[in-house]
Each structure stands twice: as structure tokens, then as C-alpha cells.
Symmetry: C2
Subunit: 210 residues, 2 copies
């Protein structure tokens, strides 16, 4: 694309570096900002800059936080004996929005992926192992994405955690057909596994918070 302005070109290049944003969308965003007042754009850039420069991570669960402890770890009403291991803040938000989980979290910051050069040392694994040694943990729930990398990470973590405390209960999210989906569109692997790991009918009558 031939822009009439170097300033526009650079701003478009910056936006199109963001995930899922191509050149055309980037140009649309740039032209939108150009129509806004300078004050509005100053607030936009300032808030993004503040976010990057002032952000802290919770010393306990490694989640993004404005303080030493995030508001979930600081909440004494939550069950601190149950840790849900997730990949990032988005997963915390997803689980929190179900309003079913009462425990606390541990944010790994990713999953083990040798192809991308991400091993346990690049993730918040040691912090999780330290928590198991210091805190009175009953159960650790692996809520990682049902992918090859997610499963590898679950396998690796389970082994490490069991080495520290063989009696800790380690569980993972149930796998099966999604609620509301049409059976004919479910992929073969999921359907085969859901069939093999079928459960007694009565269990479906139990409400999720029991």
C-alpha cells in the first residue's frame, strides 16, 4: 500500500504488528484515531504506556496485579487449599466468569512448547512447586488448553508435583462433547474419548457447584 504520509505508514506498521490485525484494519484504526481530538489520543497512548510500565505480578499466583498480591489471592473468603493452574489472565477471566470456582489460581504464563523454545524454565513452574512446599494445598486443578502442548505441560507438572507431595490430589478439566453442540459436528477424537470415558447418567444431575 502506498500511503501519502510517512507518519501514517509508521502508525499503520505498529498496529499491524498486533495479533490478528492486518494492514487494512490497521489503517482503519489509524484513520479513526486521526479523527479524534489530540487529548483523546494522548489518553489512549498514556494508558497503554502506563499499563506496560507500571504493571506488577502477584507474588503468589503470578497473575497480573496492581499490588503485591492480586485481589483473588488477597481475598480471605476464597479456598486457598485449591489451586487452579491456568495459562494466562484470559483463562482466569474465563473461569471467574463461570462464578463456580472458589479456589485460587496459579498463572503459568504459557505452556511447554519445545517448537517455540518454551520449556519449564520460561514458565512460572518453580513458583508453583514452591507454593506446594510452603502452603497447605489439597488439590491442584490443571485447567490448560486441551492441546498437545497443554497435555505435555499437565504430564510434566503432575510428575514434579507428585515428587514434592505424593498425597496432593491432581485433577484436570473433564473432556467430552461441549454443551449445546450438535453431535454430528464433534471431531472424531473428542467423540471417541467421550465414548470411552462415559459416565453414569446420575452424575449429570449433580449441579456443578456441589
Amino acid at each position: 500500500m502506498n500511503f501519502s504520509s510517512k507518519l501514517i505508514e509508521q502508525a499503520v506498521a505498529e498496529f499491524s504488528r498486533l495479533p490478528g490485525i492486518g494492514k487494512k484494519t490497521a489503517l482503519r484504526l489509524v484513520l479513526h484515531l486521526l479523527k479524534q481530538s489530540t487529548e483523546t489520543v494522548d489518553i489512549f497512548t498514556q494508558r497503554i504506556s502506563d499499563m506496560r510500565h507500571q504493571i506488577k505480578y502477584c507474588q503468589k499466583c503470578c497473575n497480573i496485579s496492581d499490588d503485591v498480591l492480586c485481589n483473588i489471592c488477597a481475598n480471605t473468603h476464597r479456598k486457598h487449599e485449591t489451586i487452579c493452574v491456568v495459562e494466562n489472565l484470559r483463562d482466569v477471566i474465563a473461569i471467574e466468569s463461570t462464578q463456580q470456582y472458589q479456589g485460587v489460581y496459579h498463572v503459568l504464563g504459557g505452556v511447554i512448547s519445545p517448537v517455540d523454545g518454551i520449556g519449564p524454565d520460561q514458565l512460572n513452574v518453580q513458583a508453583l512447586l514452591n507454593r506446594l512446599q510452603k502452603e497447605p494445598i489439597d488439590e491442584i486443578i490443571m485447567a490448560l488448553s486441551p492441546t498437545m502442548e497443554g497435555d505435555t505441560t499437565i504430564f510434566y507438572l503432575s510428575r514434579k508435583l507428585h515428587e514434592i507431595n505424593p498425597s496432593v490430589k491432581i485433577s484436570a478439566l473433564a473432556r467430552g462433547v461441549a454443551f449445546g453442540g450438535e453431535l454430528e459436528y464433534v471431531d472424531e477424537l473428542t467423540l471417541a474419548r467421550a465414548m470411552a470415558t462415559r459416565r453414569p447418567y446420575e452424575q449429570f444431575l449433580v449441579s456443578p457447584d456441589k
Copy 2:
């Protein structure tokens, strides 16, 4: 959505104010920027800030420019007797990328839309009328979107331009079925108009730059 951090919440709010970006996408962009180095994010915010604060508009065609004249108006090899009237920079880029148009442009900055409170005074209309009075113009091509607002704008501009110079040729983009489309999916209005304004077959054999 319950974010664990006020800084994240504010940055997400800023991003989701952009057109076509919802809360989930905004969060994805924020978390992406959070993973980048502070230098990368500083360049991001700086370039957007520079773009907004330092941008100029071409004194002739009102297009976005880094200088007094944009690089199209400053180009002596272009046909300055033909003006193509467009809505914004995106349309200039779209027409330039066809590599067929040799004339210059005039950027209106929008189209007349009473519903949105946009009248001729909010657009670069007077600048266009002034150009017709001062410059030796042969033809003015209306390349506005084929919408109700676009057609209203074409009608209004044509009348005003004819008042100044009744001999100036005013044309508009051809309307009809799009190249490569399936006929059965063309909307009724377009198909009816394309039928009514059908052209001799030989004209299609003429290459577009003749």
C-alpha cells in the same frame, strides 16, 4: 469481565473504543503488548502520538500529508486537469492500487449525512469549489460509495460545481455487477440498474487505461 488490574482494565477500555474491536480482542491486544519489551511498547505509543500531533493536510486536495502538498499533488507527471473526488485516504489508496488513474484527488473527509449531522460545511467542499475557480479543470470524477449518502453528496456537489463552471465534465464511477461475482447473488437493485444501463458489447473489449 473482572480484570485483576485497574491498569489492564483501562488499557482494554481504550482499545475497545476503536472501531471493530470488542472487549475480548482488546484484552488479547493488551496481553500481547504486555509480553513485549518496554522499548517496543514505547515505540508503539510514540508513533501513534507523533502521527496524531504532527499530521498535516495537503493544502490542495486535503489529503493526509507530511508536507504542505501531498506527494500526488506535488507530482508534475500527473494530470492535474482531472480531479477524483473521494471520501478519505482509504479510497485514495484503493484507487492508487489499481494503477489506472493518472489524475489528482480531492478528499472530502466524509459524505453528506444529515442523520449523523454531517453537512457540506463539515466537509472539504468549499476547498473543492475554490479549486474549480482557480485551477484549469477538465473533468471531476465522483468516486464516492454507492450509498444513499454518497449519491446525495454527488447530487449536491454536481449542482454546486455546475454553478461555477457549466462546461466542466462531471462523471461518476460506473455501477453494475462486480467482476467475478455470481449473478444469482447480485442484489435486485444492482441487477435491475445494470440491466437498464446495459452497454454495447464492444465497449468491454476496450482496456481500462484507454
